[in-house]
C-alpha cells in the first residue's frame, strides 16, 4: 500500500508540475501586454517600464517560469490586473461560493440519482426503467446555460417563486450583517445564527443548484442502475433469491453496498466537473463564485487571474482523481498493482 501511495502521489506531483507549466504557457499566449493592462492606457513610458520590471517581463522565459513557480510555492499567486488584489485572496473569496453551489447541487443529485438508479434496476426493462433512462439521458444532454435561462425565466422572472440572481438579498447586509468565517455564506449564517441571511441564501440557491444537479443526477442514476444490475446477476444474488429474499431486498440489502463503490468514485470526479460546468450557471444567476470571477478576468484579459482560476481548478481535478484512486486502493487491493 505504501509503495502504491508514494507512486500515485509522485504521479500527482508530476501532473501538477505539468499543469503549472501549461498554465504559464497559456498566460504568455494571452494577447495584450500585462504591463499596459496594469499601468493603464495613459501611463507614461516610465510607469510602463516600472510595471514591466515589476512583472519581470524583461527576463527570459525560463527565468520568468522559474520565478512564477517560486512565487506559487511561496503562496504568491500574482496580483489581479482587474481587482488589484492578490489573486489568492480573490480565489479564497470566490471559491467557497462555488463550493456552496456545487455542494448543494451534489446533495440534490445524490438524493435524486441513487433512488432513481435503484428503481430503474428493480424494474429493468419495464416502464419505470425506460422513463428513468430517458430522463437521465435528457438530464446529461441538456445545455446548462439554456436550462439556467429557462428556469430563471419561468420560476424567477415569471412566477416570482424564487429570487432572480445573486447569492442573498444585499439589503440584509445592513439589517443583519454576516460574520464571515468560511466564506461559505450558508455555513457562516447557520453557525452564527443569522437566520434572515440563511433563508435568503437557501432561496437563492434553489434554481442554480437544480440546474447544476441535472448532469450529476443523470450520471449517478445511470451508474447506480448499471452497477446494481451487474451486482444482482452475481452468484451471491442467486443464493439470496434461493433463500427467499424478494427482488427489492436483494437489490437494496445486498447488491447496493458493493454497487455504490463505483458510484462514489464517480461522485468525486463529477464534483470537479460540476465546478466548471457551474461557471455557465453562475454567469446566468450572477452567483459570486469562480465562474463569475473567471468570466470577469477573461473579459478584462486579466492574465494572473485567468492563470489562478485555471490552476486552482486543475489542482482540484488532480486531487479528486488522487482521492478516488487512493480510496479504491484501500478498498480493492487489485487496483494497487496496476
Amino acid at each position: 500500500m505504501l509503495r502504491y501511495l508514494t507512486r500515485r502521489l509522485g504521479q500527482a506531483v508530476l501532473v501538477v508540475a505539468g499543469v503549472v507549466i501549461l498554465t504559464f504557457v497559456i498566460m504568455r499566449l494571452v494577447p495584450g501586454d500585462p504591463a499596459v493592462a496594469y499601468a493603464g492606457p495613459r501611463a507614461s513610458p516610465a510607469e510602463l517600464a516600472a510595471a514591466r520590471a515589476r512583472f519581470g517581463l524583461n527576463d527570459s522565459l525560463p527565468v520568468q517560469l522559474w520565478s512564477y513557480v517560486r512565487d506559487l510555492l511561496g503562496g504568491d499567486w500574482g496580483t489581479s490586473l482587474h481587482t488589484r488584489r492578490p489573486v489568492r485572496d480573490d480565489l479564497f473569496q470566490a471559491f467557497p461560493a462555488s463550493l456552496e453551489l456545487v455542494g448543494a447541487a451534489l446533495v440534490v443529485a445524490i438524493v435524486v440519482g441513487i433512488p432513481l438508479g435503484i428503481a430503474a434496476a428493480r424494474y429493468k426493462g419495464k416502464l419505470p426503467d425506460l422513463s428513468i433512462r430517458i430522463s437521465s439521458m435528457l438530464a446529461v444532454s441538456v445545455p446548462v446555460f439554456w436550462l439556467a435561462l429557462a428556469l430563471q425565466t419561468l420560476f424567477a422572472s415569471g412566477l416570482g417563486w424564487f429570487p432572480v440572481a445573486g447569492e442573498y438579498d444585499a439589503n440584509l447586509d445592513a439589517t443583519s450583517p454576516l460574520h464571515v468565517y468560511t466564506n461559505i455564506t450558508a455555513v457562516d449564517a447557520l453557525f452564527t445564527g443569522n437566520w434572515p441571511i440563511l433563508g435568503s441564501t437557501l432561496a437563492h440557491l434553489v434554481l442554480p443548484a437544480l440546474v447544476i444537479a441535472a448532469y450529476p443526477a443523470g450520471v449517478i442514476a445511470q451508474m447506480t442502475r448499471a452497477a446494481l444490475i451487474e451486482e444482482s446477476s452475481r452468484d451471491h444474488a442467486r443464493l439470496e433469491r434461493a433463500l427467499g429474499f424478494g427482488e427489492t431486498a436483494v437489490l437494496t440489502r445486498f447488491a447496493l453496498r458493493p454497487a455504490l463503490n463505483p458510484v462514489l468514485s464517480l461522485i468525486a470526479l463529477v464534483f470537479a466537473y460540476s465546478i466548471v460546468n457551474g461557471f455557465l450557471v453562475e454567469a446566468v444567476f450572477n452567483w459570486p463564485g469562480l465562474g463569475r470571477y473567471a468570466a470577469d478576468s477573461i473579459r478584462s484579459l486579466d492574465t494572473p487571474a485567468i492563470a489562478g482560476v485555471t490552476l486552482l481548478v486543475a489542482i482540484l481535478y488532480v486531487v479528486a482523481n488522487l482521492a478516488v484512486d487512493l480510496v479504491q486502493g484501500v478498498i480493492d487491493p487489485r487496483v494497487r498493482s496496476r
Binding site: V19, P143, F279, A294, T310
Partner: protein, 292 residues
C-alpha cells in the same frame, strides 16, 4: 477481434462493418430512437439549403418589419430579433454543430490514437512520457482550457474546434494505449517482430487496426459532449459570430427576450438538447451492445 498472422494483417473494414451491424441489430429500442434521430439531424443539416423555408435567413438576411413574430404557419418557429426565420436558422445551425463535432472527433481521435498506439506498443519510458503529458491535459477541464485558448485565438468556429480538440485527445490516447499494450503482447505481434518487420509497420499495420474498436465506440459516445461544449463556448461569445447560424450563439443573442419572445431561445436550446440526446443514447446503446 480477428487475430491473424503478420502476413495477412487483419484488415479494418470487415471487422468494423461486422461490429457496426452487430451493434445496430442488437440495440435496444432507446438506442434505435437515438440512431433515427441522429440520422434525421444529419439529413436536415445536409439538406438545409433545400428544406429551410427561408434559406437566406440562415445567413445575413434581415427583415426588420417581421422581427419577433410568434410561431405561425409562415414561420413555424417564429422569427428572431431581426426578422429571420428561426426554423431556417435552427436547420443551418445543425450544419455548424455537426461540422464542429465531426472535426473535433476526427482531430482528437487521430492525435489520441496515434499517440496512444505508440505509447502502448513502445512501453517503457516512451509510454511514461506520453501518459504523463496526457495526464496533464486530462487535468485541465475541457471547458476551462477551451475558454483560455478561445481568448488567445480569435473567436470563430475554427477556434472552437481547435480549443475542444486540444482538451479531447487525451481520452483517446489513454484508452488506445491500454488496448494497444494488450494487443502488443499477442502472438502475431511477436512473430512480426521476429520476421524483422520494422516497428512503424508493426505499430500502424498490425497493432493499430486491432486497437480501434473501443475508441470508435467512445468517439460515438462523445459527440454529445462536444456539441454541448461547443454550444457553451459560442454562448459565451467565444465561437461563431453573426451572421453564422449557431445554436449557442442564438441562445446568447436571444436570452434577454426569453420572457417576452420565448421561441427565439427555446428552439435552438431544444435543438442542442435533442442532438446531444441522440448522440448519448446511441453511444450508450452501442457501448452496452459491444460490452456483451
Amino acid at each position: 477481434m480477428t487475430v491473424s498472422g503478420p502476413a495477412g494483417a487483419p484488415t479494418l473494414q470487415p471487422q468494423l462493418r461486422r461490429t457496426a451491424l452487430r451493434g445496430l441489430a442488437g440495440m435496444d429500442r432507446l438506442a434505435t430512437v437515438g440512431a433515427v434521430l441522429l440520422a434525421l439531424i444529419v439529413l436536415a443539416a445536409l439538406l438545409a439549403p433545400l428544406i429551410a423555408p427561408y434559406p437566406d435567413d440562415g445567413g445575413s438576411a434581415t427583415h426588420p418589419l417581421e422581427a419577433l413574430l410568434p410561431p405561425s404557419g409562415a414561420h413555424w418557429f417564429g422569427t428572431d430579433q431581426v426578422g429571420r426565420d428561426v426554423l431556417s436558422r435552427v436547420l443551418y445551425g445543425a450544419r455548424t454543430s455537426l461540422l464542429i463535432a465531426v472535426a473535433v472527433l476526427v482531430i482528437a481521435g487521430v492525435v489520441g490514437v496515434v499517440l496512444g498506439v505508440v505509447a502502448g506498443y513502445a512501453g517503457g519510458w516512451v509510454r511514461d512520457v506520453i501518459m504523463r503529458v496526457t495526464d496533464v491535459f486530462l487535468a485541465f477541464p475541457a471547458l476551462l482550457l477551451s475558454l483560455a485558448l478561445a481568448v488567445v485565438l480569435q473567436p470563430s468556429v475554427t477556434t472552437v474546434i481547435v480549443a475542444i480538440a486540444v482538451t479531447w485527445w487525451p481520452w483517446y490516447a489513454r484508452l488506445t494505449a491500454s488496448v494497444a499494450a494488450s494487443v502488443s503482447t499477442r502472438g502475431f505481434v511477436d512473430s512480426a517482430r521476429c520476421l524483422g518487420v520494422p516497428a512503424p509497420v508493426i505499430v500502424f499495420r498490425h497493432v493499430l487496426p486491432n486497437s480501434l474498436t473501443p475508441v470508435l465506440v467512445q468517439l460515438s459516445l462523445d459527440g454529445g459532449g462536444v456539441i454541448l461544449t461547443a454550444a457553451a463556448l459560442s454562448y459565451l461569445g467565444l465561437g461563431a459570430h453573426e451572421p453564422t447560424s449557431e445554436w449557442g450563439l442564438m441562445v446568447q443573442q436571444g436570452q434577454s427576450l426569453f420572457t417576452t419572445d420565448w421561441w427565439v431561445v427555446t428552439c435552438p436550446g431544444v435543438a442542442i438538447l435533442i442532438t446531444a440526446f441522440a448522440f448519448n443514447v446511441l453511444g450508450e446503446g452501442l457501448r452496452a451492445r459491444l460490452a456483451r
